[in-house]
């Protein structure tokens, strides 16, 4: 190492929320031209640490140095001006604006600086150029509110990555940028990251998908319970030791075995269509079975499960539950029939962020709490505590506003809601999005229990190892059509990908 100071240094960072210590004396160093992988369990404090760097939170103690000089960020704008850009874990785009408008929000190319006139054509053209350069297939004129979670993530990435002008940008933080991306987009992202590294940027990269880290990481920092328990060069320790540092214990197996009896058809979908999103989709799911749905982003998987659930009804086709025809026109009818959908976008369609964890867990089955016209708080509390233990939701406080839990714990709360709703057919759209390795194993165990108890599970996932490890059958969607059905025991990632990406 030369005498040149690192691009970013955080020293002795301490932070507490309402008396709870979340970060304690954390040190972190990121060098220009390198990527620092930041890992840790859900709630370890990764996002909080990065939000301090981005000026969203103020540290109680400690200092931040950019190129060796101490800086203080009172607000996000200060951090941006100093060259720190961040992709937040929970998406933060303006839904009513277009892709191009979001990418250039706050730095629009102006036609006339005096009048603040925006040159729309120039804006779109520049956005298109960036998207092409990064290899993202998006229409700059599309309104962001209509994009899938994955596409929105691509917009966020484009916005952060393109926000550097000359050498004014030094650090880019990516908080779980791949949590809803499929392998192909992840590859594009990695290409982009390597390019940014070459241009001398320091990247901080947070992810729970440990298997993708070797591709880009140069340094590794592990957080546990708000402490930096490991700082070192990438590759000095193996995955097992990494997990042990994260969880404080070794993990036996990620995909626990399942002993489910496969029974009658619980869900039958026939010729379901809502062009152009998906067309002529037919499949079934039996009791005790886990059916995986794979595909690239935009293949129509989310739209398909939303249609089965009745959130946005299909144009034509039939759905049968327990061999009885069922027309989903409103989620209410579906929930009553024992059908549930764990949505992909927990912030928009999932959680009531400012309401307590307990309210969120019981929301789909409030009727079960009512006795004599009254909500029984004790029943609610017991149920919530039960799921807190089962899914190890941290912190274990039923009264805490769910928006104040870490991302992975929010995801577990949402899963708990559908477990409490006592559904028999589960549609799970990216069920482990943002969940750490150890907790993921718990969710898999929970899914197995459901199947063993005779439920049918349909699991949409962009995480191929997860599909291969969990599903009995894997259906592959491409451009709105089901193009393959594979036996999960016998297939490989390559084969799934081949079907998903053919003819492109």
């Amino acid at each position: 190492m030369s005498s040149q100071p690192p691009a970013l240094e955080m020293r002795g960072i301490r932070k507490s929320f309402a008396g709870n210590i979340v970060l304690e004396h954390v040190n972190l160093t990121a060098r220009s031209g390198e990527a620092l992988a930041l890992v840790g369990e859900n709630g370890a404090g990764k996002s909080t640490l990065m939000k301090i760097l981005a000026g969203v939170h103020q540290p109680d103690d400690g200092e931040i140095l950019l190129d060796g000089t101490v800086v203080k960020f009172a607000r996000p704008a200060d951090a941006l001006a100093a060259g720190v850009a961040m992709i937040y874990q929970e998406l933060s785009l303006a839904p009513h604006l277009t892709v191009a408008e979001n990418i250039f929000l706050g730095r629009e190319p102006l036609q006339s600086a005096t009048f603040g006139l925006i040159n729309q054509r120039d804006l779109n053209a520049r956005a298109q150029k960036l998207l092409d350069e990064y290899g993202f297939k998006l229409d700059p004129k599309m309104r962001v509110g209509r994009l899938s979670a994955a596409d929105r993530q691509l917009v966020e990435i484009t916005r952060a990555a393109s926000s550097h002008t000359g050498d004014s940008r030094r650090v880019i933080v990516m908080d779980e940028p791949t949590s809803s991306l499929t392998d192909r987009e992840v590859e594009e992202l990695f290409r982009l990251i390597r390019d940014l590294k070459k241009r001398g940027m320091a990247i901080i990269y947070i992810s729970h998908r440990l298997e993708e880290l070797p591709e880009i990481a140069d340094q590794l920092t592990i957080l546990r319970d708000g402490h930096a328990v490991y700082n070192g060069r990438w590759g000095e320790i193996g995955t097992d030791e990494m997990i042990r540092h994260m969880a404080g214990r070794a993990l036996k197996e990620i995909f626990p075995p399942r002993k489910a009896q496969i029974g009658d058809v619980k869900l039958r979908v026939t010729d379901l269509s809502r062009p152009p999103k998906f067309q002529h989709v037919s499949f079934n799911a039996r009791a005790g079975e886990v059916v995986g749905i794979a595909g690239l982003a935009g293949a129509g998987r989310t739209e398909l499960v939303e249609a089965i659930f009745g959130a946005t009804p299909a144009d034509s086709g039939q759905v049968e539950i327990n061999s009885e025809p069922f027309t989903a026109i409103h989620p209410n009818a579906s929930v009553k029939r024992g059908l549930s959908l764990l949505t992909e976008d927990r912030k928009r369609t999932g959680l009531c962020l400012n309401l307590p964890l307990s309210t969120n867990v019981t929301l789909a089955n409030v009727g079960a709490l009512v006795q004599g016209g009254r909500l029984q708080r004790k029943v609610e509390l017991n149920a919530t505590t039960n799921y807190i233990q089962k899914l190890s939701i941290r912190p274990p406080s039923p009264g805490k506003a769910v928006g104040r839990l870490s991302g992975g714990n929010q995801q577990k709360s949402l899963l708990a809601r559908w477990l409490f709703a006592e559904s028999r057919v589960f549609l799970l759209d990216e069920p482990t999005r943002g969940v750490d390795v150890a907790a993921r194993a718990e969710i898999y165990r929970e899914i197995n229990e459901l199947a063993e108890a005779g439920a049918a599970v349909v699991m949409v996932s962009s995480d191929l190892p997860e599909l291969l490890g969990m599903a009995d059958r894997i259906l592959v969607m491409r451009r709105g059509r089901l193009v393959a059905e594979l036996n999960a025991r016998q297939t490989t990632q390559e084969e799934v990908l081949k079907h998903a990406a053919l003819e492109e």
Partner: protein, 321 residues
């Protein structure tokens, strides 16, 4: 710390007001407090009763993420219709029930329109405000409806133990019911869920439109009840009754910690909000402060309350995981 402040600020303000006014009476006007007499307190209760009743319903609607600007007009319309019925021989009790029914129907219409037209509630009920007011004026040709039996005054004038006005008892009963509903029932639970995240509530299997319409209908019925009390107070049907009430009602909810963006608000808070406004007006009169200045003060209080609410909300949002 600030959560604590958020919860108790309205209450502390009310206590402070109730302490400052008698002191001011003593030191500025040089006489003993008129403010803290049973008669005056009963007067405050009577003056704020109508607003508080409506504010109970408004709390529900606003917690669920909606708003209703037409409530003042509903007071006028229900008063006119109820009074016309009484003037043409319907028994007094029947007339009051008609007021309630008219109000509930108007509220139901508001809720249905918000859901069917998919237009913001603010706009729909702004239209409703004009429509209901115009309708009331039209059917009585703009004149107060007279010729009601003397017994129509019962609802507003009856007192218990010599000084507890009947409307106060009605307020207490309704407050207890709405508090129970909001904190203990499914209807109330869905109210908070919808106001916090409407889409999430829908995905959780809640019939959001049905519930929304219900909240508006309840608010409408309570506005109709307010119309009945106004009719009883003047023993006439007043087509211009309730004019401007919507602002006081919304202000009561907001001062009491209710959020304009939904998901937050309590019955206790709203009652305190309503009392703060009532005490401000009453104290202002006792201290011989110009009513014009009083308006300025109340306006400032509303802005402060909303500023505080927004400030709180931004803090919560900036800390989401």
């Amino acid at each position: 710390m600030s959560d604590w402040l958020k919860r108790f600020l309205p209450f502390l303000s009310l206590i402070a007001l109730c302490a400052i006014i008698p002191l001011a009476e003593y030191f500025i006007l040089g006489h003993d407090s008129k403010f803290l007499t049973a008669g005056n307190l009963a007067a405050i209760a009577r003056q704020t009763a109508v607003i508080t009743i409506m504010a109970m319903g408004m709390t529900m609607v606003m917690v669920s993420g909606g708003i209703d600007l037409s409530v003042g007009s509903i007071v006028g319309l229900s008063s006119v219709v109820g009074a016309m019925a009484m003037a043409s021989g319907t028994p007094v009790l029947g007339g009051f029930l008609i007021c309630l029914a008219v109000g509930a129907a108007c509220g139901w219409l508001n809720g249905a329109a918000v859901n069917l037209l998919k237009i913001p509630a603010f706009i729909v009920t702004l239209g409703g405000m004009g429509i209901y007011r115009g309708l009331g004026l039209y059917i009585c040709d703009g004149n107060a409806v007279v010729g009601l039996p003397q017994s129509a005054g019962y609802l507003a004038e009856k007192t218990f133990l010599g000084f507890i006005p009947l409307p106060l008892l009605i307020v207490i009963a309704i407050a207890l019911i709405v508090h129970f509903v909001l904190s203990q029932t499914q209807l109330g639970r869905y109210c908070y869920a919808m106001g916090s995240n409407l889409e999430a509530a829908r995905y959780a299997g809640i019939r959001v439109s049905r519930y929304q319409i219900m909240y508006y209908a309840i608010l409408g019925a309570l506005s109709g009840l307010a119309g009945a009390i106004e009719t009883s107070r003047t023993v006439t049907g007043q087509p211009n009754g309730g004019e401007g009430y919507e602002l006081n009602v919304i202000a009561a909810v907001v001062i009491g910690g209710g959020s304009l963006s939904g998901g937050q608000g309590t019955v206790v808070g709203t009652i305190i909000g309503s009392l703060i406004m009532g005490v401000l007006a009453n104290g202002g009169n006792l201290l011989q402060i110009s009513p014009f200045i009083q308006k300025i003060v109340i306006g400032a209080v509303i802005v402060l309350a909303v500023t505080f609410d927004e400030f709180q909300r931004r803090r919560v949002e900036s800390t989401e995981a």
